[in-house]
Symmetry: C2
């Protein structure tokens, strides 16, 4: 798959799956809403600081992040680590109107945090083959800004109702 095909897979995915080791040492998966991306290598996820998966990732940040489209038989597994971001920049970027129902104290609610995933390698799967991502594919956008890929895609396709 080309870098552009992989970006399209990532951008049209509303969700991704985190694969991690939990506090009991078990392999665990948590499916999360994931629409903020910087190319293929960096991704942001807003979540509850108190969640089990966040507490596990603080102890052991090595994890994977998996995007897939079952209907198209496409999958992308990224390997790397999670960092917890509590800075205002990230809080503002991912905050949505109405999030007060999850975080009553608003953007500064201590239970509101952002996970950043930093990939150092990756592998894709498609009906016609599989392969490893090159460093160039992963890092081509390292200096660009985070974008809401799902919203950008919906805008580009004139489907503004689908913007989450």
């Amino acid at each position: 798959m080309t870098r552009e095909e992989l970006l399209h897979l990532v951008n049209r995915s509303l969700f991704a799956a985190i694969g991690y080791t939990d506090a009991q040492g078990r392999q665990n998966i948590r499916r999360v809403y994931c629409v903020w991306h910087k190319g293929l290598g960096r991704h942001l996820i807003s979540t509850n600081f108190g969640s089990c998966h966040v507490q596990s990732l603080i102890r052991q940040g090595n994890a994977c992040l998996y995007f897939s489209d079952d209907a198209a038989f496409e999958g992308l597994c990224l390997y790397g680590r999670f960092e917890i971001r509590t800075e205002r920049f990230y809080r503002e970027l991912l905050w949505n109107a109405g999030d007060e129902k999850y975080y009553p104290q608003g953007m500064n609610d201590p239970d509101y945090c952002v996970l950043e995933f930093l990939a150092d390698s990756g592998r894709y799967y498609r009906f016609d083959g599989k392969g490893d991502l090159t460093d160039e594919m992963l890092n081509a956008d390292a200096d660009s800004r985070y974008e809401n890929g799902y919203a950008s895609l919906a805008d580009a396709e004139g489907d503004s109702d689908a913007v989450p």
Copy 2:
């Protein structure tokens, strides 16, 4: 969620995600076709013996299996272990007409094998809450037979065209 609601989630899922530790010690996810179930606790997946995820699971069988329905905001993560089944019973059960294109030597092709997942615990996630599975929920069907849950569901709903 009730056991019946969880069974419905599992039965309408064509795919599930395996969370495992790979040969490099990384957390990894592989999305697989998974329609054969025995209640909530046991699941079968046919696959290539030579695949990286199978070789990793032979070394380290502890893993998780995740079913989800993004549109309904439902997820189920099962924790347990994988066993490799090469017996004829399993080969026959999961063999589909046309599988020769993946396994040229047919049902006895050495690259054709079946993974059995045996869950010992589980956790569900839904918009209205999350919780752990009880042993009773996991083991209620331990003595029953494997069924193609997706086909049974399609039959029950009169949608035989959807049977994979």
